[in-house]
Symmetry: C2
Subunit: 325 residues, 2 copies
């Protein structure tokens, strides 16, 4: 299976590592919008200007799109689904139906498979929700994120006047997690579920108290949370807060039986040292599925909900039944 | 969707409850080897002698086989897969390949779908293993069971002379769980992973010390574990140890990236008040999938690895994409 990578940031680099873990795959090329000579990669394959990607139509089995959901993927995925089997990690939840329909049309036209919104949320977390809802129709869903850096919230802090740099951690509240696991199906407010912890580097002469108030009162982002703000030096931010760890919990608490007196907790948890490397690893598993589905003659846009689990595995159906069932 | 239940024990009763949670399903009949007039069910449908099941061929969409793996299912599943779409919870891991091949032949001959080994282990636990292995090829798997009653171990105690009744709980060792979650990929012995806690009712005049030694030294069942034995009265056993709670943890700890220095923990956990009712709920979700696959013209034997998650859900593909992805 020959894999192409489009976009060489944290995610693209993660895909490059993930390919090395899978002996049935090899990297064919990395495509970039930048000057290819400026992109240093870890593999001995060509770095190609994106404008030349059409020349690779018969040399790549699956193209992994490693751009962002805001501006890259809404254009790139429909465009390249006509040319290649593609995988993306589109994560703007509200726009998934629109994205799906555009990609589906392009993929069907080009006779290719596109799998969108692959990763852990959307992705493995979505799977946990669908499996547990199908099994326990009478129940309640809970998702907790973290501990991990929220990019959107960190960006929001950086836009405040007087802020030089910032990182924001989302942290699940332990007592809330325990209440959910107890089977009591609590109603939890936004404030009760997550804490927001901020590490902020100020510009020279900025007013710390003022910045702190602006953060804590920011609508939608922080005002509904218990937020702590720590002012630190640029060196400390770089040294202690450059990690890309993340994770979270998807829990369904449901009831069955006579009078619904039996409670069941289904919990799926991720604890990730590197958010982009784990996401890349999921992308690569779904690249295998896209390749196989297309070989079978299928085309169109799919999500993780449409893919039989066996299609993700390098192992044969016999091997899976004998050793994993 | 019209469902038939074959065998009305804890599992059959659980399926009956689960059907009431799913508005796209209804119970058509319960089939039994017993005298039908002696079987009291909770629904207003016929209880039918198993010898008359052929008369129901066109009145049932999916037959749920609720018998045991030791002697019932190896015979029943191949037999009825020729007549109906069927679901079973066959859990003799070592014999799954043989069972699969017999059922596959029968189901293909009858143009039906059979899904075998459905439940939580095998079942949802197997799915957790396959997904996490596909995503993290370089890693280590851990399964912990409990806290819950092990039927096989309880039976083994009951066979000892002087024992009137007994229940055995399998309990995961907390420190082992924490060591796994820490990402250290520990090598754990059998003794380090689970504790076995026994509650035993003695026959009049039996020697407690002797029974305790026989339990603790029983090869395979107890000798490799830290086992505690509690002698209690018959009343206490009935009052405090009649529950059917169970659960467990499937954890994969894997590494990615340059020098594999990033660790990721994927954990799937179940905490179940009623093992048979939860298993039944899984069976019913897969009954929906069997019905849909057969409507599409597919036939043969499948496992949870072959079924796209969306097929389990009563919700449409559009609804799943819009609200669960």
């Amino acid at each position: 299976m020959k894999i192409g990578i489009l976009g060489y940031g944290n995610l693209g680099r993660g895909v490059e590592y993930a390919i090395k873990e899978n002996s049935d795959m090899e990297l064919a090329a990395v495509f970039t919008r930048r000057d290819p000579s400026s992109v240093k990669i870890n593999s001995n394959v060509p770095v190609v200007k994106i404008s030349e990607i059409e020349n690779w139509k018969n040399k790549i089995d699956v193209l992994i799109l490693c751009g962002g959901s805001a501006t890259d993927l809404p254009i790139q995925t429909p465009k390249f689904a006509g040319m290649f089997n593609v995988i993306d990690s589109f994560d703007t939840h509200a726009k998934i139906p629109e994205h799906f329909s555009k990609v589906d049309e392009a993929a069907k036209f080009g006779n290719h498979i596109a799998i969108i919104s692959v990763g852990w949320d959307p992705g493995l977390f979505s799977l946990a929700r669908v499996y547990s809802n199908a099994v326990l129709p009478d129940g309640k869903d809970y998702t907790f994120w973290g501990k991990g850096v929220s990019q959107g919230h960190s960006d929001a802090i950086r836009r405040i006047e007087g802020v030089k740099d910032a990182k924001q951690y989302t942290i699940p509240v332990k007592t809330a997690l325990e209440a959910v696991r107890s089977g009591k199906n609590p109603e939890l407010t936004t404030r009760q579920k997550h804490i927001r912890e901020c590490f902020v580097v100020l510009e020279d002469g900025a007013n710390a108290a003022e910045v702190e108030q602006k953060i804590k009162n920011m609508p939608n982002y922080f005002d509904e949370y218990n937020t702590t703000v720590n002012f630190i030096s640029e060196e400390e931010l770089l040294k202690n807060h450059s990690g890309l760890a993340h994770g979270g919990f998807v829990i369904r608490s449901g009831n069955t039986g006579e009078n619904k007196h039996h409670n069941h907790i289904v919990e799926f948890r991720l604890k990730l040292d590197s958010n982009p490397e784990f996401t890349s690893s999921v992308l690569i598993a779904y690249a295998r599925a896209a390749y196989r589905l297309n070989k079978e003659g299928q085309s169109g846009c799919k999500t993780v909900f449409d893919i039989p689990p066996a299609y993700l595995s390098a192992k044969s159906a016999e091997e899976l039944r004998a050793h994993y069932l």
